[in-house]
Symmetry: C2
Subunit: 447 residues, 2 copies
């Protein structure tokens, strides 16, 4: 059991002091140390615990740090911080799988609650870490892993614990939302919008993890795990990125009353023949109706739309990234963990249910499809017959003249993904089809 | 200490059973009993506690109830439920001050955590009830008192416990938001929109509490108390309703790029000479810029916009009323209280700080003002000189011809409320001024 000193003689009488060890001190860690150092009295007053960052593990002792970070708190040795008997709670902000995973396990085994912002680790080894935390009877909190400062995971874990969640749909990657917002607002191309995002610090120099949807997939796995009390890993998530989105697609979306957004969707489905509850989790760009609350989420903001049986529609909106918003989420967890430690109650972990993860093939949605064809008589009939042969019904079609070719832009009625993919395969065999263009799923709020 | 039976032999092995007594069984109570009865297994699986509604106190035993509510659970005697040794957690859904207040106090003193949806009681006697709960070491949870199913108060109390909240701005009354949305969308008058709201069940037959802002004031007091850890009561809240809003005002707002919304605003201010932290809490219609996330909140929906030092801007959006959404919030609290009881940790209540509640006079904002004047030369100069004499600077003016009269529509630069009120008093003395029309505060996201 960690030592909890009383705060007597420290200004705020009778407020217990909780000593915090921080592993990793980049953007988020620096902001966290700053906030805790500057506002320790305020935090004590508001939360009933006095936080003191007593040790900080960093990679390089030479790098310039926030002014308040005196060198005597700094060390190279992260493991000594994670297991230090004079540290009560550990915050892991190193990121990546190792050494973060071992450090968290060792901290929990040493009886310390852990707060982490590490989405990659949680999305791949969450089940293992929860088992260690449960065995140790210590909290493992991770609000900052999804949608930065938005108080989302605690809402799902506590406020909505009694609620049957049907679906969670999120804009959980600020980089891609910024890029798509700029393409939508300024009618600039993907490349130009991405460059702008990079120059403003909203995108990394290597933007792969964001634009190809890997970052959103990790968050989708965590969201689905919490919403459905299941062990969903990043590899369970169907994934597409935004690299192929063109301004033409966005123009078309606008004309039809939609915005294009990269969505993370986690859905609860009816159990199949096995009787095991089923879920589907996916990340892909989609057309979102303009009057849907997610359509108005612009720039680097994040938002998560939750559909529950009793509560109906909820949305939580805010900054999904950045040092201070993310540090705010870490701080909330830190206060919660510290209060739990001081209060001495049992730590609660939900039972994980076995679920079946359904493949994208079984998705039912409306689809936006573009197909470039040779501009000659009879082509539309040939194309339409392929749709018909696979049972995909066309809701609307528009033809755009491209010179010797024409672009056919289709919106389908609700159809199964497998049938739409079969339709595309069939279309590739039609001689007059020059190329298959875009495929976007269309969000239909009624379903 | 209440008896906690183990759930062995009940299907979900090793899940503790928590027996719930419900006081009041109207819309919300009926929905709650329904959900708990129908989904007890699901709730046990998701939350780790098995809830059983064992007793329900109702006013009339004759009234038809939800099918699942067998008469053996029903009683007239609310007090016997609140203090029943076979009830572990009490849910108060009677509303109003008495007998709810006494029942809650007696339940807490009997060692039972209490969940309530009673905003009137919390907004007037919160401090007293928290003191009783703290002394009893039992939870008193009230998520459902503000913004129905939106998981707002727990976000403020836990996730943002480390955060310095600067301002909370909410659309917390669905009736008035529905009325204003219809006036905005359909250009119908206040009376017609209110009738429509009544016929759809969004407004009571006597709509006073909603349209005059009393309901929103109680919620603003609770929000301010939680956001600033202070004892703010409904009487501390400056209040205006929406009865005087005309379609013309909304047209003008649209032309200038605004929507008109009834807002509850709780602001943290710099301490004055006394050094005591200061807050301002008010409810009034306001012009909200169209690109502000609150402007898009339509119909009966609620939303609360939170500005924090580290987290930046957050918004939580959802259904603010209705049996099932409100029951969902009660259920979340119930699960939290039940887990706390089973886990056995200390219950935490924030220290309440002394704050100074500043009057509306000290507000600084931009203002929208309409003044009807006799249409003759020299009037504008006379009017403008009154603004000038009180230091209120005009940002824009538009004149609308009304025949023998003219309507002057002003937007001011930022000004003090006291100076604006003095300007209006001065204008009443100008002979050519026929009547003072509307005064609306304008939300300026920069401040």
């Amino acid at each position: 059991m960690p030592v909890i000193e009383r705060g007597a003689g420290r200004g705020a009488a009778d407020v217990p002091v909780v000593r915090v060890g921080v592993l990793g001190c980049g953007n988020v860690g620096g902001a966290l140390v700053d906030i805790v150092d500057e506002d320790a009295d305020g935090i004590a007053e508001r939360s009933g615990v006095r936080l003191e960052v007593t040790r900080v593990a960093v990679r390089s002792l030479a790098k310039p740090r926030v002014a308040s970070l005196q060198t005597e708190r700094l060390t190279h040795d992260a493991h000594s911080v994670a297991t230090d008997p004079d540290v009560d709670v550990v915050v892991e902000l190193i990121g990546g799988i190792e050494p973060a995973r071992t450090l968290i396990v060792d901290a929990l085994k040493a009886g310390k609650p852990v707060v982490t912002a590490n989405k990659e680790l949680l999305a791949n080894f969450g089940a293992e870490l929860f088992a260690v935390a449960e065995a140790a009877g210590r909290d493992l909190l991770f609000e900052a892993t999804v949608a930065g400062g938005i108080p989302l995971l605690r809402a799902l874990r506590v406020s909505l614990a009694g609620e049957r969640i049907r679906r969670v749909t999120g804009i959980v990657n600020g980089t891609t939302n910024y890029v798509l917002s700029r393409m939508s607002e300024e009618r600039i191309g993907y490349g130009e919008a991405l460059q702008e995002a990079q120059s403003l610090g909203y995108a990394e120099r290597d933007p792969t993890a964001d634009v190809e949807g890997y970052d959103a997939s990790a968050k989708a796995a965590i969201l689905a795990s919490i919403a459905f009390n299941a062990d969903i890993v990043a590899g369970d998530v169907y994934r597409e990125g935004i690299e192929t989105i063109e301004v033409d697609d966005i123009d078309f979306a606008h004309r039809l009353g939609y915005e294009v957004k990269l969505l993370a969707v986690a859905e609860h489905l009816d159990p199949g023949e096995s009787g095991i509850p089923a879920v589907a989790v996916r990340v892909h760009p989609a057309m979102v109706p303009k009057d849907h609350p997610l359509a108005g989420v612009r720039g680097p903001f994040n938002a998560v739309f939750v559909e529950g049986e009793a509560v109906g529609d909820l949305m939580l909106y805010g900054r999904g990234a950045g040092g201070r918003p993310t540090a705010s989420a870490v701080l909330g967890d830190l206060v919660d963990a510290a209060r739990g430690l001081v209060g001495g109650g049992a730590v609660w972990f939900p039972a994980r249910s076995r679920v079946e993860v359904r493949p994208i093939d079984e998705l039912e949605a409306q689809y936006y499809l573009t197909i470039d064809v040779l501009d000659r008589p009879g082509v539309l009939a040939a194309v339409a017959s392929v749709f018909g042969a696979h049972g995909v019904s066309i809701r609307s079609m528009e033809q755009v003249d491209l010179g010797t070719e024409a672009r056919l832009v289709f919106i389908t009625h609700r159809a199964r993904e497998a049938d739409v993919q079969a339709t595309l395969a069939g279309l590739r065999d039609v001689e007059a089809v020059a190329r298959i263009g875009q495929l976007l799923r269309v969000i239909d709020p009624g379903h």
